[in-house]
């Protein structure tokens, strides 16, 4: 009987204390500046006490990512400002071009290139003109035409000589005594 009376008194006392503590805590929290409290907290010590692995084990990454609105995130990123801060030259200095090229599969790359589309943007006529192709074609065409003409001329000159030798034989003239051409021209073109 006595134990029962003591326990009910004890519960009443705890209830009163609890209400007092709540009232006091409420007053204290309302009164104290949070920054003052935070200033007293040693963040490093707090972080040292946190078991990061255990914390991460509790995080469901997939669920977290599902909640991230990527488009909204990208919209908030100032790409131009970001790019302005990138030093392209410094970036390129750090790139090992040879190593990069070794990793490029040229055949696969070329297979993906639509040559027709590329050529549509190329002024082939100007490129051909710059390369001097018309001059080369004209020169080679002229050379071929000249060679063909010379071939025909040689045949005609050959016939001249044959006819000349026949006439000399008929007229009993010594071919060696026949004048070859006007003296000035023969001397000019002599070997």
């Amino acid at each position: 009987m006595t134990d029962g009376t003591e326990s009910s008194e004890s519960r009443r006392s705890k209830g009163r204390l609890g209400r007092m503590a709540a009232a006091v805590t409420g007053r204290v929290v309302e009164t104290i500046d949070p920054d003052t409290v935070i200033d007293h907290v040693d963040i490093d010590q707090l972080l040292d006490r946190i078991d990061a692995d255990r914390f991460l084990d509790k995080v469901d990454i997939n669920r977290l990512l599902d909640r991230v609105d990527v488009n909204r995130l990208i919209d908030r990123v100032g790409v131009d400002a970001l790019l302005d801060r990138v030093d392209v030259n410094q970036l390129l200095d750090r790139v090992d071009i040879d190593r990069l090229m070794d990793r490029v599969d040229m055949n696969r790359l070329l297979a993906r290139v639509d040559v027709d589309v590329v050529l549509q943007n190329v002024d082939l006529e100007a490129a051909v003109r710059r390369a001097g192709v018309p001059e080369i074609v004209a020169e080679s065409t002229g050379r071929v035409a000249g060679s063909a003409l010379d071939l025909a001329r040689r045949q005609i000159v050959g016939l001249d000589v044959v006819v000349d030798r026949i006439i000399n034989r008929i007229l009993r003239r010594d071919p060696g005594e026949q004048p070859m051409g006007p003296a000035a021209l023969v001397a000019e073109h002599a070997p």
Binding site: G146, L149, R154, D160, V161, M180, A183, L185
Partner: protein, 187 residues
């Protein structure tokens, strides 16, 4: 002996400046006649078309053909004389590779070109007897060449006039003294 050695063993005889023979002369004359007649016919047809369009009268009404003959003779004279005076060769001679020069080899003057052109009919009129000189005369000069003091020689412009290789080889062996021989510059 390799193939290339055998190829270069037959140098072509050079004939630039030598008197042109009868075949060359005949070929160039045939080309000139074709050019004169072709250009005259085309020109006359064009003028006739123009005359009919502008004046309503055809040039083909020349029944006796006197005017056409005179016009053809005039056109032939102008073609031969002007070509000769300006370039020393007609178009036909240029294609075959011939040039008309003074008998001593100097450049043809306008006066000689005029005399040669005027004397050309003299070679043709007595049944072409004046042209026989091209065959039998030592310098292959026709009557009009002798009268004008001219000669016709091989001249291929910037290139060297040559004989075919096999014929050059034959001449070099049989009658080398008749033609000078020198390997081509390009080997």
């Amino acid at each position: 002996m390799s193939h290339s050695d055998a190829w270069h063993a037959v140098p072509r005889l050079r004939v630039t400046g030598h008197y042109a023979g009868v075949v060359s002369r005949a070929a160039s004359a045939a080309l000139d006649v074709a050019i004169i007649l072709g250009s005259f016919t085309a020109g006359l047809a064009g003028l006739d078309l123009l005359s009919r369009m502008v004046f309503g009268a055809s040039l083909a009404r020349d029944e006796a053909g006197v005017l056409s003959t005179v016009a053809l003779a005039l056109w032939a004279f102008l073609y031969v004389y002007l070509s000769m005076a300006i370039a020393g060769r007609t178009l036909g001679k240029g294609i075959v590779g011939l040039r008309v020069v003074a008998a001593d080899g100097s450049t043809l003057s306008g006066r000689r070109a005029l005399i040669r052109t005027l004397c050309l009919p003299l070679s043709a009129l007595p049944a072409g007897a004046g042209f026989v000189g091209i065959i039998v005369q030592r310098e292959h000069r026709a009557l009009h060449d002798l009268l004008a003091g001219t000669a016709v020689v091989y001249d291929w412009g910037g290139r060297v006039a040559e004989l075919p290789g096999p014929l050059s080889d034959f001449l070099a062996r049989k009658a080398g003294a008749e033609y000078s021989s020198r390997p081509p510059a390009d080997g």
